[in-house]
Amino acid sequence: MGDVERSARAVGLTIDQRYLEGVAANLERLMAQARLVMDVALPLETEPAPIFRP
């Protein structure tokens, strides 16, 4: 079982074999974006902005 299938099981999803390749490609794209945000050295004081109030 591949990483995508294992991750899916962990959240209660079974991904059809037909979609696995497309999902893996999209997850790879997301993780490349995730690396960009993880590389930001944030001060501990920086709060999340789940509802942004300008």
Binding site: V4, S7, A8, V11, G12, L13, T14, I15, D16, Y19, G22, V23, A24, A25, N26, L27, R29, L30, M31, Q33, A34, L36, V37, M38, D39, V40, L42, T46, E47, P48, A49, P50, I51, F52, R53, P54
Partner: protein, 457 residues
């Protein structure tokens, strides 16, 4: 006729709203089969609403500031009696909406006439309006090309002259990208300005609603009628209506204008940069500005979108994945697998980026950037080249809009005059709650002849 001209003529009794509605319905009948901008045409409702306006005028009552002006809404707005499909097959099993979206209710109050609902990318997750269930919306200026998305039907309808304005939504660029591709004006107000009540959500933290129109004045006229708080949307700010129409031609002198460089130039093709520079030059002296963290902000919006979109649709992804549009299904399934760590970091990066941008706005009143990296892509086109790198088209057309909606800034897309070339728009970006300033710049560029909507004959 512009929306303002129609409203004036109807209010003065020179034209009947019913005649305007009938002409618009006839134009939809003639052009919509080719363009596929409207998914539902509401002939009976339109004629009923127009008739009510005509009776109000005849009785000497005020028919509202948008009296008789025909419009359409993206099909994620609730329209009483229709299932709110939000571009999906799955939602068609839901019961018909019992009432109109709050913004549609406000349009009824203003005397506007609803013609129907408009095509979009499934669940607003895309920038092209190539929809597996409802078909592709074609660009009225070149039918081999997309109209942009996800509010593509709404933009194409205005650009084809099928209606005077449309209401769309913008989570990552879904008003701004199609406005640029179709050559019309679009407004994404500050996050929390307009209530989203009774519309189908995509990403609660990033969803905005806003109008498209053919002139800056029309955009302001519609925006003014849309404003006002609503407690039913927890993100909607409790702010009084701030009318823009009376002030739209009073651009303050000495505005400090910045042209965004860095990410906003690196990720735009040369044609878009040149067009922006020419428009900016008309405004007088401008400075080059970098928004530190724009790329990271775009990444944050990308991650939050995938995670929240997947969470919203989780039950359907688990139980009936085959019923999704293939273009959105795999993206949403992947979003369900994102580690919490990445999503939480993304939320904190938003705050950090907002602080950087607030600093920049202490030195500038308005920022300018291209709205899209390139003009409208071809239908079916899978990739675009940016920075010499081949990237998937569907998610990448919003690279220049996404960092700005990530922190809720108000943006007007202004269509540049480009005779003989495909339409392109620029983003006029203001500080939070300063929609008026962006609208003033849009109106100024229009009056100066630099900008103007292109409406297909």
């Amino acid at each position: 006729m512009t929306a303002a001209e129609i409203a004036d003529a109807v209010r003065a009794g020179r034209v009947r709203a019913t005649a305007i509605a009938q002409a618009a319905l006839a134009r939809i009948e003639a052009r919509n089969p080719a363009l596929n901008a409207f998914t539902d045409v509401l002939r009976d409702r339109a004629l009923r609403e127009a008739g009510a306006v005509d009776r109000a005028v005849a009785a000497g009552r005020d028919p509202g500031p948008l009296a008789g002006v025909p419009y359409g809404v993206k099909n994620l707005y609730d329209v009483a009696g229709l299932p709110t499909r939000a571009g999906s097959l799955i939602n068609r099993d839901r019961p018909a909406a019992p009432c109109d979206a709050v913004l549609v209710q406000r349009m009824v109050q203003a005397g506007a006439v609803l013609l129907g609902s408009q095509n979009m990318d499934e669940y607003a997750y895309g920038f092209t309006t190539e929809n597996a269930h409802d078909g592709t919306t074609r660009n009225p200026h070149d039918e081999a090309r997309v109209a942009g998305g996800s509010s593509g039907g709404s933009a194409a309808a205005v650009a084809a002259g099928l209606c005077s304005f449309s209401l769309g939504s913008d989570t990552n660029g879904s008003i701004r990208v199609p406005a640029s591709f179709c050559g019309i004006f679009g407004l994404k107000p500050t996050y929390g300005r307009l209530p989203r009540s009774h519309t189908f959500p995509f990403v609660f933290d990033l969803d905005h609603l806003g109008p498209f129109a053919a002139t800056a004045t029309d955009l302001a006229l519609v925006y003014d009628a849309l404003q006002g708080p609503d407690p039913a949307d927890p993100a909607c700010a409790n702010r009084a209506i701030a009318p823009t129409v009376p002030h739209i031609f009073s651009l303050p002198s000495g505005l400090r204008i910045g042209v965004l460089h860095g990410w906003f130039r690196d990720m735009a093709q040369e044609e878009a940069c040149t067009a922006l520079d020419e428009a900016a030059a008309a405004l007088g002296p401008v400075s080059a500005v970098i928004l530190p963290g724009a790329e990271q902000a775009r990444a944050a919006a990308f991650l939050i979108t995938a995670a929240q979109g997947a969470n919203l649709h989780f039950a359907a992804l688990r139980d009936r994945a085959e019923d999704f549009d293939p273009a959105t299904r795999d993206r949403l399934l992947a979003g369900a697998l994102l580690p919490a760590q990445a999503v939480q970091q993304a939320q904190r990066v938003r705050r950090w980026f907002a602080e950087q941008v607030a600093e920049v706005f202490t030195c500038f009143d308005i920022l300018l950037a291209p709205a899209t990296p390139c003009p409208a892509t071809l239908i079916g086109q899978q990739t675009i080249f940016l920075r010499g790198i081949e990237l998937p088209a569907r998610p990448s057309l919003g690279v220049l809009t996404q960092p700005l909606s990530c922190i809720g800034l108000p943006v007007v897309v202004v269509p540049l005059r480009r005779p003989g070339a495909l339409p392109l728009g620029i983003q006029v970006i203001a500080p939070p709650w300063q929609e008026l300033r962006a609208l003033q710049v849009a109106a100024w560029l229009e009056r100066a002849g630099v900008a103007g909507a292109r409406i297909a004959a």
